[in-house]
């Protein structure tokens, strides 16, 4: 039937698009890689093992700043008024999750660069010897800085979830599980990203710390799977609109993205690969690269699924 009241185009419930999904992925990747690297550092320090020059930590020092900066660039370009983005740095409405995100990122981003500069201290001093004094001070504060970065990375991972769950009319998004799901999947993307970059650019024979990162992959994958189950079982018990939204994983394109991308690539492939692959394969470059790419694609698919399927069902 033709409507007589005008265009319906502006009423599309899907307002935020893939750019937001990629930003949410990038922020999670950055936060996850820092959490894993700093966690690994603490683990090794507690056992009296050396932490200098570990490929995984070097990888995090690259991924941490690069991913968050690319994400921020996407976010700014997606604004309808990109050249006036500075207003968001001047005005803060503290009931808005986005304003809290801005505050966290304003501290997190510079500190991630400090982290990277300390990891690549020699190279930085080679190109910018005038930074020697600053880096020395930062080096003395490294222990506290790492604690602060760890806390802020947790904040960044969780805030990306609350950003979506604050929208009360989308049943899939408006749940408390979402921030936990985003944090868990940020950890998987972060550990996979660290392994990928470490294997490609920094690894020589020190595969032992890659093994230690591998060890957290099972609990992280378990948490991610648990959050997904809780999300959809919870929806089923939250009234008719929420119940209708569970169709997101049974019908339509986004159901395929969910089962093939999120569950298949993100959870099944990595878990099966690390469980059943012959020992001879496990430390080969090809194996590490394939499995970590699979995990990363899975998390990217999850962010797209949550953004698109989440907004497609409105109560």
């Amino acid at each position: 039937m033709n409507n007589i009241w005008g265009s319906m185009e502006q009423y599309d419930p899907v307002v935020w698009n893939w750019i937001i999904a990629v930003y949410l992925f990038m922020a999670g990747l950055s936060a996850g890689s820092m959490l894993v690297a700093i966690g690994l550092k603490w683990y090794r320090q507690s056992r009296g093992l050396p932490t200098e020059g570990l490929p995984v930590i070097k990888a995090a020092a690259v991924i941490g700043p690069v991913a968050i900066c690319l994400g921020m660039a996407l976010l700014v370009l997606d604004l309808t008024k990109p050249f006036e983005f500075y207003h968001i740095l001047l005005n803060y409405n503290l009931t808005s999750v986005m304003a809290w995100g801005v505050i966290a990122l304003l501290v997190y981003i510079p500190l991630v660069f400090v982290f990277a500069a300390l990891v690549f201290e020699k190279q930085v001093l080679h190109y910018a010897p005038w930074l020697a004094g600053v880096l020395k001070v930062c080096g003395l504060l490294e222990g506290s800085l790492n604690k602060l970065i760890f806390a802020l990375a947790l904040g960044v991972g969780v805030y990306t979830g609350f950003l979506l769950s604050a929208m009360i009319s989308y049943p899939i998004l408006n749940t408390a599980v979402l921030p936990a799901l985003f944090l868990a999947s940020a950890m998987s993307a972060g550990s996979a990203g660290n392994i990928l970059v470490a294997t490609l650019f920094f690894s020589k024979k020190e595969s032992d710390c890659i093994e230690q990162v591998h060890r957290i992959e099972y609990p992280v994958a378990f948490n991610e799977a648990l959050c997904l189950v809780l999300l959809f079982v919870g929806l089923n018990f939250s009234g008719p609109a929420a119940q209708a939204a569970t169709a997101a994983i049974t019908t339509g394109t986004w159901a395929s993205v969910f089962w093939i991308g999120v569950v298949g690539l993100g959870l099944v492939v990595p878990v099966l690969a690390s469980t059943f692959a012959p020992k001879a394969w496990r430390h080969t470059k090809g194996f590490l690269i394939t499995v970590s790419c699979s995990t990363i694609l899975g998390v990217l698919a999850l962010r797209h699924f949550v953004v698109y399927a989440g907004q497609s069902y409105i109560s």
């Binding site: 005008g6 502006q10 307002v15 008024k81 005005n91 808005s96 009319s169």
Partner: protein, 190 residues
């Protein structure tokens, strides 16, 4: 006593003619591709011969507990002293958070200003001059009643106190200021 502007849409009197839609567009210079106000004709519902259509006014609900205002990072979406949900164009960066968060999906990006736009009860033009909003004054069947619900002598207060009415999506706790009088079933007797 502070003002509490509300709008009542009587779905019995409404005939779906879109005069309100056109008057709004003309009064507020709304670009052609977008709209602040539509009356959607939905149905028919019921069983023959007792069929009825629903006339669904779609415009900003002026929520007292507005989700768009809560999520706005800069405070560009705010509630004015008169209770009207308003947009400060200068503070807005265009993140679309308010557009996404609105449960009624009545916010849109104005293609000319690149800022969210929506019904504001004609507050800067007609209301400022002491006149009724454009949609209310143009309605040929007087299906719309507008006024200060805190004024016990106002017409809108009398309508709300004497006729059955409902608001949309009350379960979300948004407390919309647009009230609707549901249409009677089985035809209207004069």
């Amino acid at each position: 006593m502070t003002k509490r502007y509300v709008l009542v849409h009587d779905e019995n009197k409404c005939i779906g003619c879109q005069a309100c839609n056109v008057a709004c567009r003309s009064e507020n210079n709304v670009p052609e591709s977008v709209t602040r106000l539509q009356v959607r004709i939905e149905g028919p519902y019921g069983n023959f011969p007792h069929l009825h259509f629903k006339y669904n006014r779609v415009s900003c609900e002026q929520c007292e507990n507005a989700p768009c205002v809560k999520v706005c990072p800069t405070g560009a979406a705010y509630v004015n002293d008169d209770g009207i949900v308003s947009v400060n164009e200068n503070k807005c960066v265009g993140c679309l958070y308010c557009v996404a968060a609105c449960p009624y999906k009545v916010r849109f990006i104005n293609p000319e200003t690149r800022v969210p736009d929506k019904c504001d009860f004609c507050k800067d033009s007609r209301l400022a001059r002491g006149e009724q909003p454009a949609c209310v004054s143009v309605c040929p069947t007087q299906a719309l009643t507008f006024g200060d619900a805190n004024d016990m002598t106002s017409e809108v207060r009398r309508v709300l106190d004497t006729k059955p009415n409902y608001q949309q999506k009350v379960n979300l706790g948004t407390e919309p200021r647009v009230y609707r009088i549901p249409s009677r079933r089985g035809g209207i007797k004069a």
